[in-house]
Symmetry: C2
Subunit: 210 residues, 2 copies
């Protein structure tokens, strides 16, 4: 039983999953959300859709002008520029979900995750790692959407991203998708059992019953 249920509070928790592209963080998030019914937030981006990506489901695909207007309206929880494309996390519907007691899982890059942690220190940051750099290269090549130069850029960038790991709470090694998914689920369950500011409420609850 989640401590917040036991204490009859209604707040959901915010989880952020990041990691170099090719670590499978997107797939991990989708599976976790399917399995435990958390909510994912759809990000906004100025990059072009890849094959099969659906507007409003994978991303909100917007123009540069629309993106800049949302920044001006303070509509983002975080936003960043990655490889020349802009990505942002719309604020309003996340706060609404958390306030209604739903957990939210965000899949965002390291810059965004650090911004979130500054605004929401109670957010839990999970870093998805590839088992090896060699495996990461293999996965990026397999995706087949990148030129050789882009692949090398991405691998160099991966190392820079891993250096942000000291800002994260957990690391999950995606050597086996099923295990990585169940590990993220364990983190979600455990975080709901962690003792934080709710300690005094627990003592009061038992004293009143006695």
């Amino acid at each position: 039983m989640k401590l917040c249920e036991f204490l009859e509070c209604e707040k959901g928790m915010l989880f952020v999953v990041s990691g170099p592209s090719g670590t499978g963080k997107g797939t991990i998030c989708k599976k976790v959300i399917e399995n435990i019914g958390a909510d994912i937030s759809v990000s906004m981006t100025t990059r072009k859709p890849r094959d099969g990506e659906i507007d409003g489901k994978d991303y909100f695909f917007v123009t540069e002008e629309e993106f800049v207007q949302t920044i001006k309206d303070k509509g983002f929880l975080e936003h960043a520029n990655v490889f020349g494309n802009r990505y942002g996390t719309p604020k309003a519907n996340i706060l609404e979900k958390l306030n209604s007691g739903k957990d939210v899982i965000l899949e965002i890059d390291v810059q965004g995750a650090v911004q979130i942690k500054e605004t929401f220190p109670e957010a839990v940051l999970i870093f998805a790692l590839p088992p090896t750099m060699k495996e990461l290269r293999r996965r990026i090549i397999k995706r087949g959407t990148e030129t050789k130069q882009k692949i090398n850029e991405r691998l160099a960038k991966s190392i820079d991203e891993v250096k942000f790991i000291n800002r994260y709470d957990y690391a999950v090694i995606n050597a086996n998708l099923e295990i990585a998914v169940s590990e993220v689920e364990s983190i979600l369950i455990a975080e709901h059992l962690r003792l934080k500011s709710d300690i005094n409420k627990i003592i009061t609850k038992y004293e009143e019953e006695c």
Copy 2:
């Protein structure tokens, strides 16, 4: 994959489960150990065995003199006096198990847990709670080994024990045994994924591979 496996270190982790008597912490520990193959430590006590309890399995049942000698030999990780009986956790075989890479789960009282956390700050403390005080009373009465006065003493003591919860990392409400067991298992998995002092090793590992 546990971070310690990924980083090829060999240290097990120490988990401590406490809670008022009647919360089912003993059963939770046994089930977790069965399911995930952690190691339990057998405590030493001066109290008399209950029906069905086996010396060397449930406890090492010793005399007052033997217990005092072990204290003098600095053979305990912690020891305490609970309801006039002494309980202690033998040190040597726990350190041996941890050094061989095995996790150890200790079921000990709040006084002992606090001593452990002081000696081993990296120990993870889990507090098992009954769903309500009424349910706790029902469970203690059901056990049938206590007089009415002893039951009331235990319930009063429970409140004092719950006040130690601020020294603990997690709380598990034992309303349903199966769920409580899987929650403790999630805590064990998550703690093996928490980023601690191993952060720089992760960065170095990827840089070397790149």
